[in-house]
Amino acid sequence: MLVPLLAVLTAVVVGGVVIVAVGGNPFFAYIGLIQGSFGSAKALSETAVWATPYIFAGLAVALAFKGGLFNIGAEGQLAFGAVTAALIGYALPDWLGTDLPAIIHIPLAVGLGALAGALWAAIPGALKAYTGGHEVINTIMMNYIALNLTSFLLNGPMRDPNPIDLSAQTPEIALSARIPPLFEGLRFHWGFILALVVAFLVYILIWKTTLGFEIRTVGSNPDAAQYAGINVKRTIVISMALSGLLAGMAGTIEVTALNYRHELGFSIGYGFDAIAIALLGKTHPLGVVLAAILFGAMRNGATRMQFLTQIPVDVISVIQALILLFVAADAIIRYIYRFKTRGERVVLTRGWGG
């Protein structure tokens, strides 16, 4: 535990040096960062709000890694999930011609949104399993497809008909589809709790269930898996689908618990942050949760930091990169602080997974 802490600390120090280098004051900057992320109830609440999608997306990428798959497509799965959730959120009552109780509407919106994400990821999964089409390419492609698709929907069929609303966005979802905040006046919502629960479930899935065993086995040695009678192709598809399910959740929660609609310019770059978070968390659910909260805190605190010091938010990316660098490459940290190096390395991925 000491090593990761030192890693973060070192990253912060180096980041500080960077700030100094361009004539900023690192202490004001970090004070702002901390105030803005943990300084007050409101700040904490916002940090949780930021962390929520990161947890889901990070888990998505991590789960895929466990299955020996590299899911660069969380971004697209997330967007597709969000659109679906929004659609269910605002349109379902009209279709049924009746209002739904939240107890039914919320699960429907979240569930179907997640399923949409799962579907979006299952496609490259299936292509990988049955045609050998490479998941890295295909998930990237699916990103662009999802992106064009959502732009199309938000500008056309799903656009808010209200003439006053100029932006390309869906109508607001019905009240019955909204996940309520925990406390009045704060945006801190049940989605965060759900994220923690899901993280725990993912842990159980990976380490305690036979399905998890199959996923891990296929991930670490497909030949042995096949020899042991595991249906490798099916498992690959399932791993991707589950990964997409989680990514989809990230999108749906943003819609149902926070924005109450899907709009362009939402969830920019989550998919790629998710990769960083999964790697930072060493693909372990607990690690992912911590990494996600760290990233969320920094993104959230950035506002206050900029407000106090006018230091551009980009510096956050620099620090995040450094943290990932030092945590993932703890060999460096051990080298700097003269710790003795561990015997074996954690192998997160298997190159291109063939």
């Binding site: 361009v22 064009n148 698709l149 990169a321 660098l325 997160l348 190159g351």
Partner: protein
């Protein structure tokens, strides 16, 4: 790169061109359209091709590189920065400024690749991480410096827009004149002149675009015909075997990753020194990942990757032309008026090509695996 794949890709490109010609012929001479599309295809494909080459050198030596995007962005910024300093601070004229710019672009990208090499080869960190770090770092550093240097009052350029030294000049190849000469002989008809112009349009390209094409050929030669290439591939396929023959695996990997850095650097320079005379945060817009796809798509071969890049280029050209010709698109093809639908084409095409038709691509055997003695 097997012929099956080549011919199929060619077919796809031809198809894309045909669509545009059919649609546009209402408003424009086919030859003009084709020339214009060819030119666009080549220019748009340039950063993808170079990015893919960057990936090929890294991965042929056994180092996975998903940091191409980051390297490009870094190069785009620092190349531009150097050019501007030369031009507006040290008062050099535009040409030397641009050349220095290109050099700095390459240098900065090479430094990034060095970081990747240190992480992946020396510290044997999971190679995906090195790439991810570079991608995030690049966004941060370039965005950060861009702000500090060019926007904030009291910064080097005091918030004023610095005078960019323009872009690399077109290298004129006298093909057009040649055709015109022939036209003269054949009693220069107007059609012949249009043809001449068309040739001129296609052959007059900017340096980096031309360099990219030459580098494809050169890379193929290096990888498959020279000692260096043989050793590189050996290190990427079976490092221990190479080691037992006295080849220094770590060194080979380092150098190849650095070569990858050079390629990515040139790709970055394309953005700010050849395409447009300005830098914008995150202006590479994910092309590094498309390049990655092109590399895998081309089965880790230079020509394959180039062909793949051309497909993306052609698709881009299609998408632009469809909008330019929006008003003349025949009624039954209204679908083509929808920029989103057209925007999907390259990606769906890629997925289709990758599945049934081509199937599995085979990475170098030791790709992504650190070498332990």
């Amino acid at each position: 790169m097997d012929w099956k794949r080549f011919s199929f890709i060619t077919l796809v490109i031809v198809l894309l061109f045909t669509v545009v010609v059919l649609v546009g012929s209402a408003a424009q001479k086919p030859v003009v359209i084709i020339a214009s599309m060819l030119a666009t295809t080549l220019t748009v494909a340039t950063p993808l091709t170079l990015g893919a080459l960057s990936g090929i050198f890294c991965e042929r030596s056994g180092v996975v590189n998903i940091g191409i995007e980051g390297m490009m962005l870094t190069a785009a910024f620092f190349g531009w920065l150097a050019a501007i300093y030369m031009n507006s601070i040290f008062g050099f004229s535009s040409m030397p400024s641009l050349i220095v710019g290109v050099l700095f672009a390459i240098l900065s990208s090479v430094l990034m690749s060095l970081l990747h090499a240190v992480l992946s080869v020396t510290f044997k960190v999971d190679q995906i991480i090195g790439g991810t770090v570079i991608n995030i770092l690049a966004v941060g550093v370039t965005g950060f410096l861009n702000r500090q240097l060019f926007f904030e009052k009291g910064s080097v350029f005091g918030g004023n827009v610095p005078h960019a030294p323009g872009t690399l000049p077109i290298i004129h190849v006298p093909v057009q004149e040649g055709v015109e000469a022939i036209c003269k002989l054949t009693g220069g008809t107007e059609g012949c002149q249009t043809l001449a112009n068309a040739f001129g349009k296609v052959f007059d390209q900017q340096p980096i675009t031309i360099a990219a094409i030459l580098l494809v050929i050169l890379s193929h030669f290096i990888l498959f015909k020279t000692r260096w290439g043989l050793r590189t591939r050996a290190v990427g396929e079976h490092p221990r075997a190479a080691d037992t023959l006295g080849i220094n695996v770590q060194r080979m990997r380092y150098l190849n990753v650095l070569i990858g850095g050079v390629m990515a650097g040139l790709a970055g320079a394309y953005f700010t020194l050849e395409s447009v005379p300005s830098f914008e945060p995150v202006m590479t817009n994910g092309r590094g990942f498309i390049a990655l796809a092109a590399m895998i798509f081309g089965n880790w071969t230079p020509f394959g990757a180039w062909a793949a890049s051309l497909v993306f280029g052609a698709a881009q050209a299609l998408q632009i032309n469809m909008q330019v010709f929006r008003d003349v698109i025949p009624a039954q093809w209204t679908i083509l008026q929808n920029s989103y639908v057209v925007g999907l084409t390259p990606y769906i095409l890629t997925m289709i090509i990758l599945t049934g038709i081509i199937g599995k691509t085979i990475p170098p055997a030791a790709d992504g695996q650190p070498y332990e003695k």
